[in-house]
């Protein structure tokens, strides 16, 4: 088995990448952050929160992301007058043992001077991170997320079940695996709840999907894009049954919310739909919002199954792209890491593709770059939400 390569963090976790996060704390600082990170997409990754109103969820997410195991140093880029609590964020990062610095555009001489100061600091940190020694890492130390995006009628019969097989292997090896989008599990709540390790957790799983169904009913749209229908999917329940296949067959060990770190290996459902009355709009406005939430829960990398052909990657954590549709694979092979569509051609089996995904997870954990990393994809999006903490039944001992 491939030995993973990690960088040790003070909290005990290890990262499979060692990057500088350049984090803007309001959209008004985004340009400066982007200019600081510059064209070197290996060393510095831009993340951030665009809003100017305070939000506990966004604060927690940014704290978790800036202390993500793949992050070795953090530059905060503040305009100066935004509501985001940069002091607390800087404290949290500093307490994690990472180098951190804040550039405040209004105090540091504006755009040009802030970019110059930021670039100097990032270059120093990147050099230090590049020289930092790696340590061996076990599969059981990995946290892996999965999403599907740009789904079609092939997603649920090739890519998603293959990702599920890889998840089963990872869980068996002691890794923590996270699946999500309760809005895309509508109609699956009964079969999913039957896999919970306790009856109390089963009730929580069921309740999370019922909450999602209510939430989306109020909004008037399901988690269903026009392209899903072009690809042969007709209803949200049909899309859900396909999406559910990503979870594999392992028992479900817990229910977490964005930013909750899985306490041990096993399979976890992430409840991504906000609590309380409908506020701030759609739960996750596009696929990267889901990847960001899994990273906030510690995901080192994400399996992304696509039928129509999503090309995204992510800042901070590699994304493995799994093509479900063989016709799409033929058009977008440069963007895809795995061709699960070969199952429909009869040139591969689900079992074989699942094993290939598992092997690729280990290779990427050992340093191999994914297609989206090579292409410089570093999408990132974080918007407003609000959550209540999870209840005691969500993480049975």
């Amino acid at each position: 088995m491939t030995a993973l390569r990690g960088w040790q963090r003070a909290d005990g976790r290890k990262g499979i990448r060692n990057v500088v996060a350049v984090a803007y704390l309001v959209e008004c600082a985004h340009h400066v952050a982007r200019e600081i990170a510059g064209a070197d997409r290996e060393a510095a990754h831009v993340i951030g929160f665009p809003g100017c109103f305070p939000n506990a969820y966004a604060q927690k997410m940014m704290e978790r992301l800036c202390t993500h195991p793949n992050v070795g140093a953090v530059l905060l880029v503040s305009l100066g007058c935004e509501s985001f609590d940069r002091y607390q964020l800087e404290r949290v990062v500093s307490d994690s043992g990472r180098p951190v610095r804040t550039v405040t555009i209004q105090n540091d001489g504006g755009t040009r001077a802030s970019i110059a100061a930021g670039r100097t600091w990032v270059a120093e940190q990147a050099a230090a991170l590049a020289a930092a020694p790696a340590v061996p890492m076990a599969v059981s130390e990995l946290v892996v997320g999965t999403v599907c995006g740009g789904s079609d009628g092939t997603s649920g019969i090739t890519g998603n079940p293959a990702a599920g097989i890889a998840f089963d292997r990872l869980v068996a090896a002691g890794a923590a695996c996270i699946f999500e989008e309760t809005g895309e599990l509508i109609g699956c709540e009964g079969i999913m709840a039957a896999r919970a390790v306790t009856p109390e957790l089963a009730a929580e799983l069921r309740a999370s999907v019922e909450k999602a169904a209510r939430y989306y009913a109020t909004l008037g749209y399901g988690s269903f894009a026009a392209g899903n229908a072009d690809g042969g999917l007709t209803t949200i329940e049909e899309k859900s049954l396909g999406a559910y296949m990503k979870s594999g067959q392992s028992p479900i060990s817990g229910l977490i919310k964005p930013g909750d770190i899985p306490p041990k290996g096993g399979l976890y459902l992430m409840d991504v739909v906000p609590d309380g009355e409908v506020r701030f709009g759609f739960p996750n406005i596009s696929d990267n919002a889901e990847i960001v939430e899994m990273m906030a829960s510690g995901a080192h990398l994400t399996l992304f199954v696509t039928g129509r052909g999503s090309v995204v990657g992510s800042a901070l954590a590699p994304v493995i792209k799994i093509a479900a549709n063989p016709h799409m694979y033929a058009r977008l092979a440069d963007d895809m890491d795995v061709n699960a569509g070969a199952v429909l051609d009869g040139t591969a089996t689900l079992e074989g593709v699942g094993q290939a995904i598992f092997d690729l997870v280990l290779a990427v954990g050992a340093g191999q770059r994914t297609k989206s990393e090579d292409l410089g994809h570093q999408e990132f999006i974080l918007t407003y939400k609000s959550f209540d903490p999870i209840g005691p039944a969500c993480l049975p001992i």
């Binding site: 749209y221 399901g222 072009d230 042969g232 007709t234 329940e237 049954l241 016709h327």
Partner: protein, 101 residues
């Protein structure tokens, strides 16, 4: 089961399903074998689309993966394309662009 009652281009995901999934594109005018019955396809159907395996009465559930995926909005005959025009969600309505050619 060696008797080919249905076309190899059609995929049955679960024994009790009321639909097949297309393993590839089928052109308008082509004939497919659905449960021993030859059916002519009226329009081009893409990979991943669904064809009814059995008759479904209006208001009844359509089953795929062994689970209901919504209700028929009109009577569906075996061999019919099953999609937005004859199936709707029991949860939230489906949004689709209608301008595509």
């Amino acid at each position: 089961m060696t008797e080919a009652r249905s076309d190899g281009r059609l995929l049955l995901l679960s024994p009790g399903d009321s639909v097949f999934v297309l393993r590839g594109q089928i052109e308008a005018g082509e004939t497919v074998l659905v449960e021993g019955q030859a059916v002519t396809v009226a329009q081009r159907l893409g990979l991943g689309h669904k064809i009814a395996r059995v008759e479904v009465a209006a208001g009844n559930k359509v089953v795929k993966y062994g689970a209901p995926i919504g209700s028929a909005t009109k009577a569906i005959a075996a061999g019919d394309h099953v999609h937005l025009h004859n199936l709707k969600s029991d949860y939230t309505p489906t949004y689709a662009l209608t301008g595509a050619t």
